[in-house]
Subunit: 516 residues, 2 copies
Amino acid sequence: MKLKVKHLGIDSAGKPVVLLNRVDCEELGIKSTARVKVKFKNRSKTCIVNVTSNRKILKVGWIGFTEEVRKSLKTKEGCLVEVEVAKYPSSLHFIRERLRGRRLGYKEFYEIVKDTVEGNLTESEIAAFVTSLHYFKLTLEEAANLTLAMVNTGKILKLKKKIIADKHSIGGTLGDKTSILLVPIIASLGITIPKTSSRAITSPAGTADKAECLMPVSLEVEEMERVVRKTNGCLVWGGSLGLAPADDIFIKVEHPLEIDPLLFPSIMSKKKAVGATHVVIDIPTGRGTKVKTIGDANYLAKDFIQLGRILGMKINCAITNGEFPIGYCIGPALAAREALEIIMRKKLVKDQVDKVLDIAGILLSLIGKKNGRELAKKAWLSGKAERKLRQIIEEQGGNPKIKPEDIPIGKFNLEYRAKNSGLVIWMDNWKLAQIARLAGAPKDKGAGIVLRKKPGDKVEKGEIVFTVYAEKERKLERVVKYLETEIPVGIAEKAEMLIQVIKERVVHRKSFILER
Amino acid sequence: MKLKVKHLGIDSAGKPVVLLNRVDCEELGIKSTARVKVKFKNRSKTCIVNVTSNRKILKVGWIGFTEEVRKSLKTKEGCLVEVEVAKYPSSLHFIRERLRGRRLGYKEFYEIVKDTVEGNLTESEIAAFVTSLHYFKLTLEEAANLTLAMVNTGKILKLKKKIIADKHSIGGTLGDKTSILLVPIIASLGITIPKTSSRAITSPAGTADKAECLMPVSLEVEEMERVVRKTNGCLVWGGSLGLAPADDIFIKVEHPLEIDPLLFPSIMSKKKAVGATHVVIDIPTGRGTKVKTIGDANYLAKDFIQLGRILGMKINCAITNGEFPIGYCIGPALAAREALEIIMRKKLVKDQVDKVLDIAGILLSLIGKKNGRELAKKAWLSGKAERKLRQIIEEQGGNPKIKPEDIPIGKFNLEYRAKNSGLVIWMDNWKLAQIARLAGAPKDKGAGIVLRKKPGDKVEKGEIVFTVYAEKERKLERVVKYLETEIPVGIAEKAEMLIQVIKERVVHRKSFILER
């Protein structure tokens, strides 16, 4: 069928979408979400069909092109294109099989991931695929194949080193600065550690958001490679690199549904894409984190190790305490300041230093070094790690002489004071995260929280428990409103036994952590 | 946040979608598929967020309105609106619970269905809901509650009759004219039968497509009510009535994925919405239909009956033979012609007449009549049923004097001849359906197939097995191409024992029937 082209002037998030009038669809015998092959000159493109009945939007005999299709076919408005019914992509066939519980192999996952990245599957179809992984959980073999499919549909870092170290946290902690401290320690010992990090999804600051307060983190793969060759390390945002790009698309489905079936392939594909050979996975455990019990953390760790074996990576896992925030500062700028103060030995933050040295020790012994924790500690205390961090900052285009006070913090603040005297019994990570987000984090880098007390500390009625910082006053007002009803910190003389009274069916808000 | 309105001039299939620039999204702290509340004057609307980074499409500080949002808020281009972050709808919360396997009750299903119909859920979220029903199969209690939710979010027919009969086929047969024949038979006996039917989804002709060759079928609920009050029956398209409108939205998800988890609520909601009290469900069984074995059909029947009990409907099921086409004519016009010839007693089509009288008998005895099949047969043979059909045609706005030859048939045709002599052993319903669709059905009403032979018939080499009709010559060419590789009818001296040789992994095309 020949149709005239109208340029709609909208982009459809990378998907090759065309709009057809209902009348023409009936003539072609197709419905919404069907596929058509559109030919113009010697070019052709398989597109997803959207349908309108409104002739004001699209007349019969015309086809509406989104920006994606216009650019791909290089059409001019009003020109004629040939439109014919195309088959659904074969990847959809594999999705249907997975929905029925059949296990998929590498080639099938590859087709699905490729079509996801290239925009050839609709939102519904991708959602059904992700949901199928939620129901029939990925076997380890499947997870490995899906990981490889995600790696091979994106860019790959080629460092040609025998040992490439890496570290990853599955997320759920608050105030964690481990990566920013670990990378310079390991790199200063002559070991390659090409660290990529994510920005916040549900938290107030991802490692990339924090590192960005110290240096530029949105690098191209080639720039990243150069920095690593020069310094042995880097601290860059994974999102701009194009490594395993399908992950971002799958996350968009998982997030509103609060499911996380791609945990393994998501993490492992990022590690595999940078060529990691030795990896420590940090599994924060406790209330308010992703993994609630040590038993569950153990199962998860075993799967990571086994998956690493299949993929040719040596993996160790560290089960860490995620019950309350690490260090005192939450939010991009505040956390970056604290990290800088720690590496400069200006401020002793015991829990954070402990965690970094433990993980460095595990990573170094995984590589085969003896007394890894001691080596790491020396690198930190001698100032070697600080010099390495400043070198990385310089190579990534930042100011190597940066001081903690150079990092701007929001000028509006609010003090949260204790309503009674006692001991700090608990801190609710999720509620503290909400407060930091309401204050503007991660968008407003200067927004966040500084804890003045931590669990176990004594506090007097009226004493400051934490201070909230914001760049914009109206965002602080949102925090005030939130704190009218929510209690983020528990202060009591003794542990209280009654937790909650349930009187009717309520919509219970569970915390959900998608960082990985 | 205040933003300026740009009218995008596109409609988003009923969903209140707004477009935001990435910069403004970050300021609001939200991502694609989040919800915002948009306020203008005293009106407000919760909308689904789409994001663009392309400033040519949408500048920072602007918000793009789809037609849905423009109409709802009655804005003018360039005016200022207030935009704030809104919560995800609580229905999404229930979808998340269902994804985790928790069973839902009426109120929860009602929220989900209402938000589906009102466009408050994204494609992904609806797809995840439908997929959750595919995995954790609906319990009968859930199916009943979902049915009621679907009924109560649409229009309802109020006939105020003690007995309202109805009939439904779960689909998968080819050439079936049962409804067109059954409605006038039952109505002529003084029993109310407000029959709604669907158009084809995967078949070459739905009952609505066939009936439309005899009379208008796109009626409003009020018109339908008038026709039924006057004649006791009707033959209308369900799609224009607004009964259980969520069904159409769920079908759009099911179709490309080839899953059918809403079978029960979809069928039952349409019956409940017309107030049916006594229903016969036809379950065609055999290769090429939805239900392959009589054992499976029995289970399905029991569930239908039990579900009817919960919903206050008396249900009987008829397990019928769906192995090969019913009657000789396939496609809207050809089937309508044959139905008219049968009710006029001009042509004896034994299998079709048998089926109608059997189902009429079951329905009449369910209502409490004795000798139902005999009553139905008399109504047919005496011409009472024909007069009733003509009355219905007249009341629906058609020509009551219509003759079979008045119904136009495609003027291009193609004869499929036997390649060898023997007995017709089998007919592949799915392939015959494909042929009719390639020839133009259901869009081209005159397209279809007339069978000259049926299973069990003897055929000589070179004899015509069937004739394909088309309105457009180029569509017939598609049939020729298809028949070069596909064999739709099996002719042999004896049953052949070897069915297929598998040499490598092939993409096996399964037939999938969504009609219900």
